[in-house]
Structures are given as structure tokens and as C-alpha cells.
Amino acid sequence: MKSHRKERLSIIVFITTGLSLAIGLTLFALSQNIDLFYTPTQVAQGEVETGQRIRIGGMVKDGSLRSANDSLRVQFATTDYINDVTIHYEGLLPDLFREGQGIVVEGAIDELGVFQASRVLAKHDENYMSQEVKAALDAAGVSAENHLLSSQPET
């Protein structure tokens, strides 16, 4: 029975070593900063090449939305309050789309340095409140934007 026990021990040693190494590697991987979204600042700093398909996460800049009268073509800027990226998009915008809203756009930068979006998605946070509460908060100076910014951990 001795060798049987030895075998069992070797399995346990093998599994523990394997798993602890795996956990070590995972922790290392988590410490690495992995980009899911680019911020407008990263785009402004030229981290993205022309034509490369990316996602940008940011806020719709106040007063930047312009739409054409005869088509669904819109233009707006997305911002992280440091840099802006101008975005062109043709299509229906999501209902949540408004100025100050957190959004994600998919697309690529064209030769003119304009971001041509193929898709615009509104990112909603987990805070729900009624219009009255919102108005009260705004009156108290707690802007919804701050609150959206604080809950935007994508980058």
C-alpha cells in the first residue's frame, strides 16, 4: 500500500503546484493594464492608428451634437473632459443618447482624423432615480456626470 500512497501524494503535489502557478500567473495578468476601451485622451495622443477598428468610451460633450436635416447623419464629440474626439455616425441613436451621457462607439479613424462610427451604444450605470430626484440632485450640485464618471472603470 505504500506505493499507492506515494502515488496519491504525487498527484496532490502535482495538482497543487500546477494550480498555484496558475493562480500566480492570473494575478500577474490582472496586474497588467488591459485596455478594453480607448479614452479620447489615448486617441488624441496618437495611440490609435488610422483605419484600426477600436472602441472609444467617453461622454457626449455638451453642445456638440449636430444632426443633418435630411438624413440620419449625426456628428458629435466624445470627451473624457481632457480631450475630445469628433465622431461621425449615420443611423439611429439609442434612446439613452444625450449630451453628458456615457457612450461607447465602435469604428475607425479615417484619413481626415475623424472617427467614423459604425455603432453607437449608450452605457448605462447601475443608478436608477426618478426625474424629481434627479432634479433635486442637480439642484444640490451633484451632477449626474460626476456620478457617471465615477462609475466608468473601463479603461
Binding site: I34, L36, L92, L93, P94, D95, L96, F97, R98, Q101, V104, R119, V120, L121, A122, K123, H124, D125, E126, N127, Y128, M129, S130, Q131, E132, V133, K134, L137, V142, A144, H147, S150, S151, E154
Partner: protein, 246 residues
């Protein structure tokens, strides 16, 4: 304690006991459901951003939250099946799988409908959505493995192994796809640590609906478990007596 444990494993005992439990589960379920739905549909203030679509949350969140419980539940039942060979554990595992597929499907459908308004798309390969979809596929895998294996005992054990492996995998899938692509909001509809916590008129009905759906899950699980027990024990004395009595 041990006696109680082995007694719990006996299908007959469970059948009798669950018969007594059912009214006590169905009553509160109906009550909570009625209160929850009326509250959610009529009294919840429209969200400042989403308007009335917030009412979808009261169906989506309970279903999504319970869908996450299926793999751990099946893995737990599977472990009990493998270690103690308790009959009842396998009955739980067998009946939970199709229910899980349905609950997951409804969570996906309601989420997709909700997303069509607020995100602007019916489907996106977002982390949450994708991992839910893959969980759905894995549940289908468990169900089809069960139906393919003819020997009931082998099927029970094979599904137990698959559920345990699947449980680990669902966790890995969840992390990997979250990391891959995420649009879904964090799931803290009533986290109080936020700087602007969700008001009670938003989260109380949600808690009510969550409890209602959990009870609904318990009721439907017990109902299908009872059927499964009747089929499995059809040759036993007590089932035959029960059949003749009806």
C-alpha cells in the same frame, strides 16, 4: 443529524414533506408576485434616463440573478451524488437543468428587449450577455448528455462530473468575456455604497420581485422533482398505493 441526512435522501420522505411545504411556498409566492408586479408597473417612478423601461428591470434582474445559481446548484447536487450517492441529489440535478435553461433564456430575452431601448441594440457581444448565452449552451449540453446516456446511474454520475467542470468553466467564461467586452452595467441595483444610492421606491419592489421569483423557482423545482420521483419510484409500494388512491 446523520439520520436526518439519510432521511432527506429518501424520495418518499421528500415527496410527503414537499406536499406539505407546497402551499406554504405557493401562498407567499403569489402574494409577493402580485404586490411586486403591481408596484413595479404602477408605482415605480420612471427613471430619469430610461423612463418606463425601468419596469423591465423588475423581471430581468430576478431572473438573471437566479440564473447564476443553477450551475453552483447542479455542481453541489452532483458532488453529493458522487460522494454520498444520495438519490434525491440527482433528482435535483436532473430537474434543475431544464429549468435552468428556461430561466437563462428568459433572462437573456428580457435583457435583450431592455437593451434594445437603452443601449440601442437587441444583441451585443457583451461580457454578461455572452457568458449567459454560453451558460445556456452548457446547460443544453448537460441535458443532452443526460438524455443520451441510457443507464440512469451512469447518466447521473456523468452529469455530475459535467456540472462540476461546467461550474468552474462558467466562472472562467464569465471573467474572460467580461475582460473581453463589457457594456452591461454593474449589477448593484441596491448597492448603498454609491454616492447616490438608489432610492427605496426603486429597490424595495425589486427585492420583493427577487424573493417572488426565487419562490417561483423553488415551487417549479419541487413540482418537477415530485413528478420525477413518481416516475422513478413507480414500481414501489407507496407510489402504487398513491396511484390507486387518486
Amino acid at each position: 443529524m446523520w439520520l436526518w441526512f439519510s432521511k432527506l435522501g429518501s424520495p418518499k420522505w421528500f415527496y410527503e414533506l414537499s406536499g406539505k411545504w407546497l402551499p406554504w411556498l405557493i401562498g407567499p409566492m403569489a402574494l409577493l408576485l402580485i404586490v411586486g408586479i403591481i408596484w413595479a408597473l404602477l408605482f415605480v417612478p420612471p427613471d430619469y434616463q430610461q423612463g418606463n423601461t425601468i419596469r423591465i428591470m423588475y423581471i430581468h434582474v430576478p431572473f438573471a440573478s437566479i440564473s447564476l445559481a443553477f450551475f453552483p446548484l447542479m455542481a453541489l447536487a452532483g458532488t453529493i451524488t458522487l460522494v454520498w450517492r444520495m438519490k434525491l441529489a440527482d433528482i435535483v440535478a436532473k430537474t434543475a437543468a431544464p429549468l435552468g435553461a428556461w430561466f437563462t433564456a428568459l433572462a437573456l430575452a428580457s435583457g435583450s428587449i431592455w437593451g434594445s431601448d437603452i443601449w440601442g441594440t437587441w444583441w451585443i457581444w457583451d461580457g454578461r450577455l455572452t457568458s449567459m448565452l454560453l451558460q445556456f449552451f452548457l446547460l443544453i449540453g448537460v441535458i443532452s448528455l443526460r438524455s443520451a446516456l441510457e443507464d440512469a446511474e451512469a447518466a447521473a454520475k456523468a452529469c455530475a462530473v459535467l456540472s462540476i467542470v461546467g461550474c468552474i468553466n462558467v466562472i472562467v467564461i464569465k471573467y474572460s468575456v467580461d475582460w473581453w467586452n463589457t457594456l452591461h452595467q454593474p449589477s448593484s441595483p441596491f448597492s448603498l455604497s454609491n454616492e447616490a444610492p438608489n432610492p427605496p421606491e426603486v429597490w424595495i419592489p425589486l427585492v420583493i420581485m427577487i424573493f417572488a421569483v426565487y419562490l417561483f423557482f423553488a415551487v417549479s423545482l419541487i413540482l418537477s422533482m415530485r413528478n420525477e420521483i413518481l416516475v422513478r419510484e413507480r414500481r414501489s409500494e407507496w407510489v402504487q398505493q398513491l396511484v390507486q388512491a387518486t
